[in-house]
């Protein structure tokens, strides 16, 4: 393919045909400011911040949607260009609430940052403000249309990456608002609470529901025994809240920080990830042996669960009945752990630190109280934990590493890889292989199910039986797999994660989260796995003890009561 030659700011640049001027400039080290642009997801030229001068063009061009052409001469830094960008930004700001000091995205807001970068020093225009009030109806997310700059990033993610289409631009002109159909509250819409919208929002127009106040109150209550669990994906991202590189494994510092905050016990969701493998693996073997509904599909991801409930209710029997590791943990904290520690379960307060906004919804699901108590009292996102640590003045990166508490903090490498797409599958295969064949697995690492490719498939030979497995992450990819299942393709076991990249790319993770950052966090997850002395769930001594002392056997009566659940067919509209 021949390259296209162009000149940007006097520099000779070569670019592949189809490249935008913005990308070509970036490759040549020339930075053009952007606002609505989101690589490969939202390239629509709506904000007009990335304007450049193209010789021969009648007007300034939005560089994100202008393809390079042979001999093109582009100037990105002329007085006219700078003035036009500034004017467009001032107009965008003209109906933006000037609440930066009390805004949840303050210091992490692209609009705020751009205003500083472009040197906006006064507000020359005051426009009509949005007539819409904030929407607090969702258990996971808050919509604040007043702060919306109508960039459409959230809409693109919701429609294209997730294919949920819970929100779109409605009405027009000054009344335009990104909202569900009929301007219904988000809590009534077929929204899966994945929070990918919040992850890409440049401002605070969509953000997680802040529940840090409930956790501060529990920590301050002397009657409450407050235990915390940390999801696998949080240890490779929490450092980013304090300026660390994405993917740095900060498990020991995370534990230390949570102890400093005042949690009575610091436990690990990785423990119940291992437990999930025991339960779900047994469920798979049982379905294979007894002719149950196949393929079996994983049930760890609450966004995925709500998606199938809304859009594919016919396929619900394929779901594993296992609760997610978060919920299993809560159920055990208030039974097994309560008994062992001699604490009245009604005084135990369970907090989860999750990379996820849908976990808030899951924690609130009515049926999640098999022990007679709420499994999980509050689910916080990685971002909310970061805020609490800052508020407490904890200097995260300088903390000395500490260990999780026993027994619910003991885990294996198989538990930690739940944090990345393909991890549940890999953990399940490690255990299923050894349980079915009775032999030691020669190579623990199943590279065919790793990585950021949307749909991954492989086959594994278990004692002469071929197990066809598939992995999808991101709901558009989930749809593709479900269509294949409906079309009769033979799979035995499928892992589906709602968010692109799996939990490391979850809607509760630090902002920004993009493809490169996802890849680095995933690498961190596999580093953490390799560093573990035990890497197979069935070898977890605390899980073995749990079965011996309390549960009996996988899929037994107690497991059924505490660790398994049922699903609900929901309407699409």
């Amino acid at each position: 393919m021949s390259l296209i030659n162009l000149t940007i700011d006097g520099v000779q640049v070569q670019a592949v045909p189809g490249t935008s001027v913005l990308e070509a400039a970036g490759q040549a080290g020339i930075k053009i400011p952007t606002l609505c642009y989101l690589k490969e997801i939202n390239e629509i030229g709506s904000c007009r911040i990335c304007l450049v001068e193209v010789e021969g063009a009648r007007t300034l061009q939005a560089s994100c949607v202008t393809p390079v052409t042979e001999g093109m001469v582009v100037r990105t830094n002329t007085p006219e260009v700078r003035q036009a960008r500034k004017l467009n930004l001032e107009l965008i700001m003209s109906n933006h609430p000037q609440e930066c000091l009390i805004c949840p995205r303050s210091t992490n807001c692209e609009l705020q940052q751009l205003a500083a970068e472009l040197g906006i020093s006064e507000l020359r225009f005051t426009g009509a403000m949005s007539p819409y009030e904030p929407d607090f109806s969702s258990p996971s997310l808050v919509r604040d249309p007043r702060k919306c700059i109508l960039c459409r990033r959230c809409v693109s993610v919701c429609e294209n990456v997730q294919q949920v289409s819970a929100i779109a631009p409605q009405e027009r002109g000054f009344d335009t608002v990104v909202a569900p159909a009929f301007l219904e509250p988000l809590g009534n819409a077929a929204c899966v609470n994945c929070g990918q919208c919040a992850l890409v929002c440049p401002t605070a127009a969509i953000h997680e529901k802040d529940q840090t106040g409930e956790v501060w109150a529990a920590l301050a209550d002397p009657e409450k025994h407050v235990v915390v669990q940390t999801a696998p994906a949080v240890r490779v991202s929490i450092g980013e809240m304090f300026g660390a590189e994405p993917g740095r494994v900060a498990t020991g510092q995370l534990v230390a920080a949570l102890r400093k905050l005042g949690f009575d016990r610091v436990f690990d969701t990785d423990f119940t990830a291992d437990l999930t493998i025991m339960e779900e693996g047994s469920e798979l073997i049982k379905r294979l042996q007894e002719g149950g509904t196949l393929p079996l599909i994983t049930s760890c991801s609450p966004g995925w669960i709500k998606f199938i409930e809304h859009f594919y209710p016919d396929l619900l029997p394929h779901l594993s009945t296992c609760k997610s590791p978060q919920q299993m943990f809560g159920a055990l904290a208030k039974t097994y752990y309560a008994q062992k520690a001699g604490i009245d379960p009604s005084n135990i307060f369970v907090v989860s630190i999750m990379p996820c906004t849908a976990k808030k919804f899951e924690a609130g699901r009515e049926e999640m109280n098999g022990s007679g108590h709420r499994d999980v009292d509050v689910a916080l996102t990685t971002r909310e934990l970061g805020k609490m640590l800052k508020e407490a003045g904890i200097d995260f990166n300088s903390l000395a590493e500490e260990e999780y508490d026993s027994p619910l903090g003991i885990s294996t490498g198989a538990g930690v890889i739940f944090g990345s797409t393909g991890g549940v599958m890999e953990a399940a295969l490690r255990t299923a292989y050894e349980l079915v064949t009775g032999e030691t697995l020669p190579d623990l690492e199943f590279h065919a199910v790793r990585g950021l490719e949307g749909v991954k498939e492989t086959s594994v030979n278990l004692n002469g039986t071929t197990l066809n497995v598939a992995v999808a992450h991101g709901l558009a990819n989930a749809r593709e797999i479900l269509e294949r299942v409906s079309g009769g393709q033979e799979y035995h076991f499928i892992e589906i994660m709602c968010c692109p990249g799996g939990c490391i790319g979850g809607g509760g993770q630090p902002i920004p989260t993009d493809r490169e950052i996802r890849a680095r966090r995933a690498a961190g997850i596999y580093d953490a796995d390799r560093a573990m002395p035990l890497r197979k769930s069935h070898e977890n001594p605390a899980v073995q003890a749990l079965y011996k002392e309390f549960l009996g056997e996988p899929l037994g009566h107690k497991s059924h009561e505490l660790l398994h659940t049922h699903y609900l067919a929901r309407q699409k509209y």
């Binding site: 289409s165 929100i167 779109a168 409605q170 027009r172 159909a181 309407q571 699409k572 509209y573």
Partner: protein, 165 residues
């Protein structure tokens, strides 16, 4: 595989069947959205929720996008039209001769704004731009009848006739 709920149904089954017939040639064609909405509104008179749901399913367009289009274009309406259609001209000539006072009076006496239908279902109101009778401004039409020099004091006597029909 519609699992849309029936709690919003205001239409007769025959009307819904008609929408189905209109949509048939366009099934699975998201690009035909505006055309189908246009025809559906002509057939039903307006675009209630269940019609939008049918169109969403039939054309394979998300409901959020269907509603986005319906709420964007002032031609589309989600409310049933009244028995009689009032149009107030707000073209330049009528505007300067008091079209606005007329609209205010309609709001005050009949509680309808542009795009609305009165609570009793008798009248719906639209604003139009010039009916070609500028010399008679302000101009108002009711169904096919045109009224010129309509000042607020004449309003009730004109509409009274239609209210009885």
């Amino acid at each position: 595989m519609s699992n849309g709920c029936a709690c919003h149904t205001q239409l007769e089954p025959e009307q819904l069947n008609e929408v189905g017939r209109i949509m048939e040639p366009y099934r699975g064609q998201p690009g035909s959205l505006i055309q189908v909405l246009h025809k559906a509104q002509n057939a039903v008179g307006y675009l209630p929720r269940e019609v939008q749901v049918m169109v969403s399913e039939g054309l394979n367009v998300p409901l959020t996008r269907v509603y986005g289009v319906v709420s964007f274009y002032s031609f589309f309406t989600t409310k049933p039209k009244g028995k009689h259609k009032i149009c107030v001209c707000a073209g330049t000539a009528c505007y300067v001769r008091g079209a606005n006072q007329l609209l205010n009076q309609l709001e005050k006496d009949y509680h309808i704004g542009p795009g609305d239908t009165s609570d009793d279902g008798q009248f719906s109101l639209d604003v139009v731009r010039c009916v070609g009778a500028c010399g008679l401004g302000p101009v108002m039409t009711v169904d096919d009848d045109v009224y010129g020099r309509v000042h607020t004091d004449k309003l009730s006597s004109i509409l009274e006739k239609y209210a009885k029909e």
